[in-house]
Amino acid sequence: MAVRNWADGELLTSAALNEITSSMTMRFANAAARDSMLTGDLAPAVGMTVHLADSGMTFMYIVVGGTGYWAPLPETLCFYGRQAAAQALAGGQYSVITNFTLADHGNRNLYGWFDAAAGRFTPKIPGVYEFFGGVSMATATAGGAGYTNRCGMRLNGSPIAASENWVNVTSGSYAPVSFNARKYTYIMNGTADYMELDASTGSATNTVVTSGMAPTFGAKYLGQ
């Protein structure tokens, strides 16, 4: 085993050199080159780190529940999208915010886990993710008992109360109004778990996508 204190006169075997190699940050042009080389003595092992030139990103090999994954570094942005066109929001109900398809200032969709049209993020690496997002509404009007203007996260189809942010309009109306959901951290199972952004409004209105107000939705991978 190469991870040890070496003494004078010891022989350096090929196995030891391969173990030293596997503990370095190994550099590959792309995932195909990585997978081609990392076999046998160099088969992926927990803690192994690679840098891929095509993406400019570094990945670490982790094993969760017996399954191995090349995970990005913590705080890596997994996806970020901006709504491309105004969406009608019916009054008095939750609406999933969709159509985060506008490419602007660098949209991100690592591994293609984000269905931008549907507004649904389904990561395939289990771990901790931090979610953030917000909306702008053309008008925020009092009314719609139980559904004052709010924005929040939605896990597997159900709103998460701890992620909600509210703009309570008790009288009259404001036009427009912008606000974030609360940032939310959650351990996703890496198989079927998915997250969406939703909003509700007292009376029917539309989202606003002009200028800096566009609804946005994103998440970062925070590790295990």
């Binding site: 350096l12 075997t13 090929s14 196995a15 050199l17 391969n18 030293i20 190699t21 370095m24 940050t25 190994m26 550099r27 080389m37 046998g40 003595d41 160099l42 840098h51 030139a53 993406s55 400019g56 990103m57 570094t58 990005p72 570094l73 913590p74 705080e75 890596t76 942005l77 970020y80 901006r82 506008l102 602007d104 200032h105 660098g106 991100r108 953030f132 917000g134 702008s136 404001y174 109004v177 912008s178 606000f179 974030n180 940032k183 200028s211 800096g212 107000m213 566009a214 609804p215 946005t216 994103g218 970062k220």
Partner: protein, 236 residues
């Protein structure tokens, strides 16, 4: 870097390749640049730990140009209105935008001077995604209308970075009321020369201010009304 077999010879180039794959520790940028030449010239994926700022950097290549990028999650800037300042910043009325605060001070991080305290611009100089948000603290007196804050890309007169705009309606009041508005958290790809400015405005005809001071209440509590801007590097 290769798969080793029995009887392979280890050359100095192999050893240098192994060195290049390790986590190299340097006391300063000058020491790093003096050492990483020849066989050890910087290559994408190389990792260095800099003792001068206790940050790990990874060599990245964007468009054929190399950069030393901090690891994802590194806080690049945390700037607040100068502590102890007693000068509030007057915001022009009628919707005129203004840089969110003057006399910014480093409140814990201004990595490689990426935030200019004279131009009020955040210019990180390393391509990649950045997570940013700002807080503007308004002091509005009796003025009605809405207050807004946002982030601009490459010019204070440019449109807001999409998704960064946030505003609130304090309502008219006969009391001097102050409140803060955060921009929405925005993730934006910045190129090597892109810069971001934190802006604020109000849309009424009366005058309002961005707070630039801290006060102590009669009960002895310290209130800090500083506006602030933070930016974090998220990598490529």
């Amino acid at each position: 870097m290769k798969r080793w077999a029995t009887d392979d010879l280890v050359y100095n180039t192999d050893l240098n390749d192994m060195v290049a794959g390790g986590n190299l520790v340097f006391a300063s940028v000058a020491a790093r640049d003096a050492f990483l030449i020849g066989d050890l010239a910087p290559v994408a994926g190389m990792t260095v730990y800099m003792q001068n700022d206790s940050i790990t950097y990874k060599r990245i290549d964007v468009g054929g140009i190399g950069y030393w990028a901090p690891t994802p999650g590194t806080l690049m800037a945390c700037m607040v209105t100068s502590s102890g300042s007693t000068v509030d910043q007057v915001l022009s009325p009628d919707g005129a935008a203004a840089v969110a605060y003057k006399t910014p001070a480093n409140y814990g991080r201004n990595l490689n001077n990426c935030f200019s305290t004279t131009t009020y611009r955040f210019t990180p100089g390393v391509p990649g995604f950045y997570e940013m948000e700002g807080l503007a603290n308004f002091y509005h007196g009796t003025v009605d209308g809405y207050r807004a804050t946002w982030l601009c890309l490459n010019g204070a007169s440019q449109a807001a970075i999409p998704g960064s705009w946030n505003h609130a309606f304090p309502g008219g009041s006969t009391t001097n009321t102050q409140f803060g508005i955060f921009t929405r958290t925005v993730c934006c790809y910045l190129g090597a020369t892109d810069y971001v400015t934190h802006m604020a405005m109000h849309n009424s005809t009366g005058q309002t201010y961005l707070r630039g001071r801290s006060d102590t209440s009669s009960a002895g509590y310290q209130y800090n009304y500083d506006s602030c801007f933070t930016a974090k590097y998220l990598g490529l």
